[in-house]
């Protein structure tokens, strides 16, 4: 189960409203390579993993991703803080405002609602871990896109932290895949359900 700690896993202190970035940050809040996709992906896959190492790493990284998702929600809200109606209209956020006002909603930056289609689970550990490796690289690349576009260092700072964590996660999933594959070689347990 999960308990909650009343703190962010990494600080977010965005100094001034930034509606331009608020919209783009949705990419990592509810887009295909978002923290939400990662968290749900890993926490779901862990049930069909045969090896304790993989159950642990998927549980732990999945949990960390939810804490990252919280950071993204925070960043979007802080970017919208104090926005005037004129700024909202000028920043191309009118359609969003009509459906969501200054609330958050898990969708991509181009408005597609989040879907489980952004996750995958074949039930085969090699396929699923390979998927996870790709997911971490995609997230890393998306963070780089956001960092390049960002015009605000108080926005960029948490994004750089999040990008670095994707790299570490990629490393851990690589190790987990190695462990699964050497397990398969030594045990030949192709009868996993």
């Amino acid at each position: 189960m999960w308990i909650y700690e009343k703190r962010l896993i990494y600080p977010v202190n965005i100094e001034k409203p930034n509606i331009y970035m608020a919209k783009l940050l949705l990419a990592q809040y509810g887009g295909p390579n978002s923290e939400l996709s990662a968290g749900v992906n890993y926490l779901n896959q862990r049930y069909s993993m045969p090896n304790d190492v993989v159950k642990a790493i998927l549980t732990d990284i999945g949990t960390e991703e939810l804490a990252h998702w919280e950071m993204l929600g925070t960043m979007i809200r802080q970017c919208l803080r104090g926005a005037s109606m004129q700024e909202i209209k000028q920043s191309g956020l009118s359609e969003w405002y009509v459906s969501h006002r200054c609330g958050t909603f898990p969708s991509s930056q181009s408005g597609e609602p989040w879907t489980a289609a952004y996750t995958g689970c074949t039930g085969d550990p090699v396929a699923d871990l390979t998927n996870d490796l790709a997911a971490e690289q995609q997230a890393r690349a998306t963070y780089e896109g956001l960092i390049r576009v960002s015009d605000d260092p108080t926005v960029t700072d948490p994004l750089e932290f999040l990008r670095e964590r994707e790299i570490v996660h990629f490393q851990r999933f690589g190790e987990a895949l190695d462990i699964v594959q050497s397990d398969l070689k030594s045990n030949d347990n192709r009868n996993c359900n």
């Binding site: 009343k6 703190r7 962010l8 990494y10 600080p11 642990a56 960390e64 802080q78």
Partner: protein, 80 residues
């Protein structure tokens, strides 16, 4: 220590623990890493206990007490 500086320390020690946790998941035999983890886990628990006592509950679902009144609801919440 003020709320903010305690939270900062909790974040820093917490990060060490999180990162070591992930490492140990895939390197369970690394005794040095496990020793480090246990050391920092002890530090983290002490910091959190201090925060819970001095600043109000950091944790819910029975992991911290609310001494004089129900403080859990109090603002600011982490996203504010």
């Amino acid at each position: 220590m003020s709320n903010n500086s305690l939270i900062k320390e909790i974040s820093e020690v917490g990060f060490i623990c999180t990162d070591l946790n992930l490492y140990l998941d895939t390197h369970p035999q690394d005794m040095a890493a496990r020793s480090d983890y246990n050391f920092f886990a002890g530090q983290l628990r002490a910091l959190k206990d201090r925060y819970n006592m001095e600043c109000g509950p950091l944790e819910n679902f029975g992991n911290a007490i609310n001494k004089d009144r129900w403080q859990w609801n109090d603002s600011p919440w982490p996203w504010e």
